[in-house]
């Protein structure tokens, strides 16, 4: 009996620790924000800022700096910091149970809509529960309505929408993340992108023939229906080509699809597939593979199948299937014959071809999939088919070192120079720096606080290469009264005050330090280029500066107004 008690206690303790880990510091050292249970009268202006405790060391530093800056600008205000795990934070934000949150968003495709679409009423990532029918109308029209067809009009309208968000300080942007990469001598041709596929190696070379690349998290899944993280997408894209592929500038180029016809109303795409693309078990890649994969995606109920719906790809009936339970067979994709794929859309999507290089739209061979079984697909080289530049050579879920080797049967094998890529999941960038110096890694990512030292190092400084990571860190305010907030931030002046009190340059220079860019637009720079002019949507960072520039006078003015309106 005694022994059993001891065991139960021991495992309870283990579970308790597990629970505590996940709950973060809930009820720990930092007290709850203002309002607590009743959400009523607060003691002065006390607000809670939530942020992630496992998303990078600099996040905590940024949160602390925000607190310092706000408290200095507004002596009446007290900010309580509350770190927690990402999933907990996400739940709080999605259910609007917070006051202020520090969070980030990564672009899934190269169009401003990937950001602007967030702030539609009731959208899943509209964390402040802001609602503006005019805004909704513009977005809807631009995604699947009238504006969708007129490219330039749409582009202009998006600026109008953006202004609404900035003027209301629905969110206030902080900086666009960059990666401080160390690239070994002799490595050339690796293409870095801030959107969709982080790194492309098809046209890369390296002295030893096999490149050693660092990942910072494990590869979660190689099943395109189930993968949700960047590292998985990178490996999938190494091994599988979709209808199109990404070139060095991030534009779409033919891949499995040699060419495509677009109907006049821009709502039907007919892809003509090349006939020499094969899977590495010998079967040819056919249009049926795409149709199968896309329809399979409808039932997977995983994050990324949202890309088929009317906010992004607008594939015909996708909305009905995903959200109203229609039959997946009715999806607007059809293999007319082995090498012709017809896709029907609900509205014109100007960036549709570049959407096609995103892994969610890649093909899967039905026969193979059914043979290995849904559960096992993508869990080892034997249960995965490659048709791309590389073939998966080593992988099991949980492995820290997935490997791919050159695919001799790739239709464009001649232009692939690498013999293979060895990935290594590295935890902790101190390790990564040493591994780079050691020659164990050819491409390594170091943390902001190491950049200074590397810049001064004679041998290493030439290897430093800062590239945009694409995602933008920003602060979001809850605009409702809820469990954790007394609703003060429903007041626009208060939000603007807080937005104007942040010195983003100071933040980046002192705490992030890895080349990240202070940002003053809610669509970050350097990832969304106009299809017609090639111009970066957010090239002009001064456009909305009055709403978020570091301007203490303006901040104080807004704050005074807010204070009066809120009755403090």
């Amino acid at each position: 009996m005694k022994r059993m008690k001891a065991i139960v206690v021991a495992v309870l303790a283990l579970a308790m620790v597990a629970a505590l880990c996940a709950c973060g510091n809930k009820g720990g050292d930092t007290p709850q924000g203002s309002g607590a249970a009743d959400g009523g009268a607060a003691k002065g202006m006390t607000y809670t800022l939530i942020y992630g405790n496992n998303e990078g060391d600099e996040v905590a530093l940024v949160a602390q700096s925000l607190k310092d800056q706000w408290e200095e600008a507004f002596p009446d205000v007290t900010i309580n910091l509350q770190p927690m795990t990402k999933s907990e934070r996400l739940e709080k934000m999605q259910n609007d149970n917070y006051t202020i949150a520090l969070t980030r968003w990564g672009p899934d495709y190269a169009d401003p809509m990937t950001y602007l679409g967030m702030w539609v009423t009731d959208a899943p990532n509209n964390y402040g529960f802001w609602s503006n029918p005019e805004y909704d109308a513009i977005i809807k029209s631009a995604s699947s309505g009238e504006l969708a067809g007129d490219y330039d009009a749409r582009w202009a309208a998006l600026y109008d929408a953006e202004e609404m968000v900035m003027k209301d300080a629905v969110i206030t942007p902080l900086y666009t993340k960059a990666n401080a990469n160390l690239i070994a001598d002799g490595v050339q041709g690796v293409e870095f992108h801030p959107v969709a596929l982080n790194r492309v190696y098809k046209r890369a070379t390296c002295p030893s023939g096999t490149m050693n690349v660092m990942f910072s998290t494990n590869v979660m899944s190689l099943d395109t229906n189930l993968a949700t993280d960047g590292d998985s997408f990178e490996v999938i894209a190494d091994c599988i080509d979709g209808l199109t592929q990404m070139d060095a500038e991030g534009a779409a180029q033919p891949a499995i699809a040699e060419s495509w016809d677009i109907s006049d109303d821009q709502m039907t795409y007919t892809f003509h597939l090349r006939k020499d693309a094969v899977w590495n078990n010998g079967t040819p890649v056919t249009a049926k593979d795409f149709e199968f994969a896309w329809k399979l995606s409808m039932t997977a109920n995983v994050e990324y199948n949202y890309m088929f719906d009317n906010t992004v790809a607008c594939v015909k009936n996708a909305d009905a299937i995903l959200y109203e339970g229609a039959d997946p067979e009715t999806l607007g994709v059809k293999a007319l014959d082995d090498y012709t794929l017809e896709v029907q859309l609900e509205a014109p999507v100007s960036f549709f071809p570049s959407l096609m290089y995103f892994p969610t739209f890649y093909p899967i061979n039905q026969a193979f999939y059914e043979q290995v079984g849904a559960d096992n697909y993508g869990t080892s080289p034997e249960t995965f088919l490659s048709n791309g530049a590389f073939v998966l050579s080593e992988y099991t879920p949980g492995t820290a070192s997935p490997k791919v080797v050159k695919n001799p049967n790739y239709y464009d094998a001649a232009s692939v120079t690498l013999n293979g890529i060895n990935y290594q999941v590295v935890d902790g960038s101190d390790n990564a720096l040493t591994a780079f110096k050691n020659g164990t890694l050819d491409i390594s990512v170091i943390s902001g606080d190491q950049v200074g030292a590397v810049e001064k190092d004679a041998t290493l400084s030439k290897n430093l290469n800062v590239t945009g990571a694409g995602y933008m860190w920003y602060v979001t305010f809850s605009q409702t009264k809820n469990q954790d907030s007394n609703g003060d931030f429903a007041n626009t002046d208060l939000r603007l005050a807080f937005a104007n009190a942040i010195d983003r340059e100071f933040l980046v220079d002192n705490y992030v330090m890895d080349g990240s860019l202070p940002t003053f637009t809610c669509v970050p720079p350097q990832f969304a280029a106009s299809a017609t002019t090639g111009e970066d949507f957010s090239a002009d960072q001064s456009r909305f500066k009055e709403y978020c520039d570091y301007n203490l006078e303006s901040a104080q003015a807004h704050f005074a107004d807010a204070k009066a309106a809120l009755g403090y």
């Binding site: 139960v8 495992v11 309870l12 999933s87 999605q94 099991t396 820290a400």
Partner: protein, 305 residues
């Protein structure tokens, strides 16, 4: 009895994990409706007992722990676990063997040379080994023996298992070595001062014979108690060392399952069951070992006055 314990533990874990905030799958881009739909699909809206019943049914009927929902999405846990277990167990096994053997030797040497240099040296070593965390030692080893002197692989390489396993096994063994050394020394000293050792000496026993026949056998009994939790500790994987060195082990799985983009219920439960089974199993083995070593504990019949 052990089975009931296991059941209770599993149920408690089951509850605890569902109480934690957040969804057990990546949900950043999912609308509230999609989230609700997925939760319904995963059966998360059923009452706790029903969920638990389904889980147990599934487990017993098909030996399946389910699939990962946040960690290695979709991959059956029972195909992911064996690799991780094999790695952790092998490295842990090497580590404990090394740690225990060296610890015993150190402890015996210290006890036999009580008060002299060797004793002091072993004590200092023990303190260092208990205080220095294994991962600090790991980083140290990695720096000197992979970087400065390229003797071992910088990261874990499953193709060269033994070669890769040495550094992590060594750094993990430090704690158990020190604990065993300390314990052995103290136990032996206590035994050496006992009456029956005095009697054995007065019989004419000395030296190795005395140590092996009388002292060790008695001193080892408490040491076995110490070794059991050490074994479980090492088999369940040292998280930080695994993370630093890139080992696909169960310690890393446990941490990843909790701190990922969602607490993965199935993994936490599967690992919890694994840990508990290991612990209970080792305790059982310990009980048997005890009985073998110490005749006083055997549930024997003949007790005559």
């Amino acid at each position: 009895m052990a089975l009931i314990t296991l059941l209770i533990i599993t149920f408690l874990l089951f509850l605890l994990v569902r109480i934690m905030p957040g969804n057990p799958f990546p949900a950043e881009r999912m609308s509230a409706a999609a989230i609700a739909k997925k939760r319904a699909e995963m059966g998360l809206d059923n009452p706790m007992l029903v969920q638990f019943w389904n889980y147990i049914k599934n487990l017993i009927a098909s030996g399946s722990f389910g699939n990962g929902s946040a960690l290695y999405n979709g991959a059956p846990i029972s195909s992911v676990l064996p690799v991780a277990m094999s790695n952790s167990f092998r490295i842990g096994g090497i580590s404990i063997c090394f740690g225990v053997i060296v610890g015993l030797i150190l402890g015996i040497a210290a006890a036999l040379n009580r008060g002299k240099f060797w004793d002091v040296f072993c004590t200092v070593l023990s303190i260092v080994g208990v205080c220095v965390p294994s991962y600090v030692f790991m980083i140290f080893l990695q720096y000197f023996f992979s970087y400065k002197i390229p003797a071992f692989p910088f990261y874990f390489d499953s193709a060269r298992f033994l070669h890769s396993a040495i550094m992590p096994a060594l750094s993990l063994s430090l704690f158990s070595m020190s604990t065993v050394a300390r314990f052995t020394r103290n136990e032996m000293v206590e035994v050496m001062d006992s009456d029956y050792v005095l009697l054995a000496s007065s019989k004419g026993m000395y030296g190795t014979k005395l140590v092996t026949k009388h002292i060790l056998r008695n001193a080892l009994i408490p040491i076995v108690t110490v070794i059991a939790p050490l074994i479980v500790d090492l088999l369940t994987g040292a998280l930080v060392v695994e993370k630093i060195y890139g080992i696909n082990g169960i310690g890393k799985l446990m941490v990843d399952s909790i701190t990922g983009e969602g607490v993965d219920y199935n993994y936490v439960l599967a690992l919890g069951i694994l840990y508990s089974t290991l612990y209970i199993g080792i305790m059982l083995v310990l009980d048997i070992a005890y009985g073998l070593l110490d005749p006083r504990i055997r549930v024997a019949g003949n007790k005559e006055g």
